[in-house]
Symmetry: C2
Subunit: 318 residues, 2 copies
Amino acid sequence: MINIGIVGYGNLGKSCEALVNDTSDMKLVGIFSRRDIKKDKFYKLDRILDFKDEIDVLILCGSSDKDITVQGPNLIENFNTVDSFDTHKKVYEYHHLMDKKAREAGRLALISTGWDPGLFSIIRTYGEAILEKGQTYTFWGKGISQGHSAAVRNIDGISDASQYTVPKDAVVEKVRNNEDIAFSPEMAHIRQVYAVKEEGYDQENLEKRIKTIPNYFDKYETHVNFISKEELEKNHKGMPHGGRVIRNGKSPSGNHSTMEFSLDLENNPDFTAAIDVAYARAVYKMNKEKISGALTVLDVPPKYLINKDYEALLKENI
Amino acid sequence: MINIGIVGYGNLGKSCEALVNDTSDMKLVGIFSRRDIKKDKFYKLDRILDFKDEIDVLILCGSSDKDITVQGPNLIENFNTVDSFDTHKKVYEYHHLMDKKAREAGRLALISTGWDPGLFSIIRTYGEAILEKGQTYTFWGKGISQGHSAAVRNIDGISDASQYTVPKDAVVEKVRNNEDIAFSPEMAHIRQVYAVKEEGYDQENLEKRIKTIPNYFDKYETHVNFISKEELEKNHKGMPHGGRVIRNGKSPSGNHSTMEFSLDLENNPDFTAAIDVAYARAVYKMNKEKISGALTVLDVPPKYLINKDYEALLKENI
């Protein structure tokens, strides 16, 4: 059995809790939170060192900006960790920070897993390695973007909002057909906003304010729908997401190849948890083999993720 | 520079030759064939030991049944190898054979790469590891199956033929929508035959004979089209192929996730060569790190496939 600890009890922590309890080769040792939750197996985070010898792998479920960059470097001295650090631009820096400490402690930190970064990073790498002369395209959605929803909610006069990122089907088709297009996230996605207006505010003015939020909306085709609080609650409070990576390449004799990987997820945290849990298994196995330091998904052979012996993999998965 | 040798000069060998010559970190040392080809860099296979110290990795491009199982065990004593051994049922046995010899010689054999087995094996493994409670579906095509085409050509009265394996769109849709279906390759694919009839044979009778070939056609929805030799040559002698792997799973709270990977290839040997070449790079790097034995794609971390240093991967691919 692989003994798992969970740090943080937001959406991702809750999905991890349910999945670890449902996974045959794992046991949930404890959930560690800054809050004082009075339930079995819940502990205040400052007590975590008491569990140093009982936990094989910690899954860090906090936010990238406030939690992981602080918790990761502290916890790696005594635990193996898996995290979904997702600030693409800071992965290099964060890796460097974790790698040194992890090596010194003989621990293993698997950083930046999830689906992007994570599975999409893997597919981008396979795509680029196999079709060296080619182009990679990443689409996100259809799914709710928490950051964009929050940006809309921050506007004075908006009481609540949800924002869907939606890839443009016509652009996906053009990419699949190897058409030569000037690709950018802005031209490839629509932003679909569902917002609840407070009384006494002008709808047209609010719509204009949403559409001109810099970076978030100003360069995108944005559609704003004002709806009732009830409709928002009923239809737009789920956490669906997804996306696709497409790699097009051309062989020396001019033949095209297209590799495409896509995800369609009813619940984003549930799927991210599933990836975290599989990589926790890999971390456990690799650390047993005396591998230490900070790794990414690009360092992990697929075989380590699965609860199956090598002979069965050769017979069933190849 | 990684020094590459190619064994076998059929379609795959030719695609590898062109690609290695077009790849910036590789150099083609020689092409080894049983035939005596009078061209620069071509050598008879029995001279290959002369190149033992010049070649880093050999790509074996012969057929699975007749060539690779004989050549692999002989060559691994003196060379690192990559092959596309694709008889799924014999991978375990072949791995065992190669592993022992490779370990003894300190060489590395990467067996059974390509797209199925190969990339599809990787996706099946990621899918099963991440969505443990779920189901995997593999579709092949639209593409030409050499084996099925040959089976049709073997019929007395057929002078030439091409057979396309075509996945049924309706079944793909059902799988994507998580419908509960009794899936089998037979119910998920159509076999589309284009055949050229010899004079004096009865068309209806030939069609019946094709449709009843055991295993190849008898359990499939098969469509037979008799066409002219000219039309077959013009429209059905390419080597397109492709396929898709879909993994559906359900989280403990009942949320569905779908992972889908698909390939759309204008030329099957060109794409298989691209995979072989990327894995030749991985074999070179891993053997430099003193890794020996027989490996499959499930043993290889994605980072080894690409011609890019680790720092750049962290910055650009994660």
